[in-house]
């Protein structure tokens, strides 16, 4: 009975899978471009450049992201903010910001390196192009609009899934958020900022988020 038993065992596995797939919820593939599967929260997709709630760009052109990038795919040039119409709250702003997506390895080290959370990652991964030049994303595509909508190089593309571009990835903060001593050693896992400030972390008050007020005198000084 050895061979026959083995045959029955093997055939029963496929039979069970077929019944599962047809009559129960056994199907594991989806019809991809028609339906999109919910991605993991910490999915590393295309980058965006964020703004503050008042419309100011978060990028200060410090080039730390370019320095942290292991694939050398980020090119940033900073420029002094115009005095009458500043682009970012800092001294300088990101005048040129380009990411070569053909080189990017989606490690999110740029996100970790950014001191102002200007560059973050989203859930969009459909970035295929027919042309090498189109794979270089410039500030036009990366920067979030003032109304909070995202830009895409080919907005009419069937796969230009703009809602996915607004889903920020989550990332782990190992250091104390905003340098506050109370939170040292408490890792906080938050979705990083899209538009505006990021939500409070574990232990922070929901009602009174810590907002840096430039007009108030600094406590340490």
């Amino acid at each position: 009975m050895g061979i026959l038993g083995d045959l029955a065992k093997g055939m029963s596995v496929t039979w069970r899978q077929m019944i599962d797939t047809i009559f129960r919820d056994g199907m594991i593939t989806t019809e991809y471009p028609k339906e999109f599967r919910e991605k993991p929260e910490r999915f590393h997709g295309r980058h965006v450049l964020n703004r503050y709630e008042d419309g100011m760009e978060k990028c200060i052109g410090c080039e730390l992201c370019a320095g942290a990038c292991p694939a050398r795919c980020i090119y940033v040039r900073g420029k002094e903010n115009p005095v009458d119409a500043p682009v970012s709250p800092g001294e300088r702003f990101g005048f040129v910001y380009e990411i070569n997506m053909l080189r990017c390895i989606f490690c999110a080290l740029c996100v970790e390196a950014c001191p102002t959370e200007a560059i973050t990652m989203t859930h969009l991964f459909e970035m295929s192009t027919t042309n090498r030049d189109d794979a270089i994303y410039t500030k036009d595509e990366l920067l979030i609009n003032e109304d909070g909508s995202a830009n895409h190089m080919f907005p009419d593309d069937r796969l230009a899934n703009l809602p996915e571009l607004l889903k920020a990835d989550g990332w782990m903060r190992a250091t104390a958020p905003q340098g506050r001593v109370e939170y040292e050693g408490i890792p906080g896992w938050t979705p990083s900022a899209g538009v505006g400030l990021r939500p409070p972390e574990i232990g922070q008050s929901q009602d009174a988020p810590v907002v840096h007020d430039p007009s108030a005198p600094d406590e340490e000084e």
Binding site: G10, M11, V13, T14, W15, T21, I28, T29, E31
Partner: protein, 379 residues
Amino acid sequence: MDWWDFLLVVIRVVGVFVFLLTTVVFLVWIERKVIADMQNRLGPMRAGPHGVLQTVADGLKLFFKEQITPAKSEFLIYMLAPALSVVTAFLMFLVVPFARPIEFALGGELRTFTFQAMDLNVGVLYVLAISSIAVYAIVLAGWSSGSKYPLLGGVRATAQAISYEAAMGLSLVALIMFIAVQNRGANVMSMAAIVDFQAGTYGATEGIFSFLNPIITRVPKWFILPQVIPFIIFAIAGVAETNRAPFDLVEAEQELVAGFHTEYSGMRFAMFFLAEYVNMFTMSALMVTLFFGGWGGPFLDSIALNVGPWVATLVSFGYFMAKVFVFIFMYIWIRASLPRLRYDQLMELGWKRLIPGALLWLVASSLALAIRQFGLPWT
């Protein structure tokens, strides 16, 4: 034989050809869908509703593709091998009856239209002969490609054909003997006659088993019941004969790239593909015809009498297709489940299990038939 008869023959042959082609289109789709279900996948979904037109799209694509010819190939044989494979695949189905014959008047005569392209009086032998020729297509394709992997596939095809055709033939000998003893003088090798022999149910018995009569008189007189061992051997040999998993050593992807059709592309490859599925359908149809009563089924005669002969023909065709698709599902199920046999395992199964098994059954069944006819030798 007048012109009307000639016309009817043409209609039958063309009808069978078109019927097989359309069935193959659905067969490929069904196979892909069933295997997808068994692997928790969707399968083809794009071309047509649920992807039914996927095969048509693939066929059209292959039709417009370049036919590459290797420089070292034997061109004439290389070109003829796929044609041989398709022609034999279609020829094999000629003798399979797939619906109830119908009588109607045409040209001032009452004619019987059989749903079978040609009723040969040596139908079973014809099937065995054609299936032997089909192997030549694979062997010649493998050899004429002038490349090592196709050659290995061709060599495997020869060995496989020799080991399994013997078992297949021997299993049918026992079946034919069984039929011949029961129907003396009848044309026992004709497929239409074999279907007719299986019509009806078993008669009531007397003696100690008479209490089973309510069941026995409802059991159809299919040859599967007395001849179950030949059926098992025929089914296994049939899978091996059509070169399908788990006996697809001839085109083992993991070992031989694509085996005998590695060097084929475009329409020539499509012909091999078509032949494989036609063969699969024909083998299932043969199993149904020889062992499961062909197009026969319950209520056919009363439908013909009360509703109309055309309806009975349609219903009998439905019976036939339903039975055939059970076997096709088995083919697909086996392909989705079982791993490929190793070369020596294939040989061992053929020479050490199937052929001795078929021979033993042949001896045992002929002894039983002789005893039933002439009584025990010492009495």
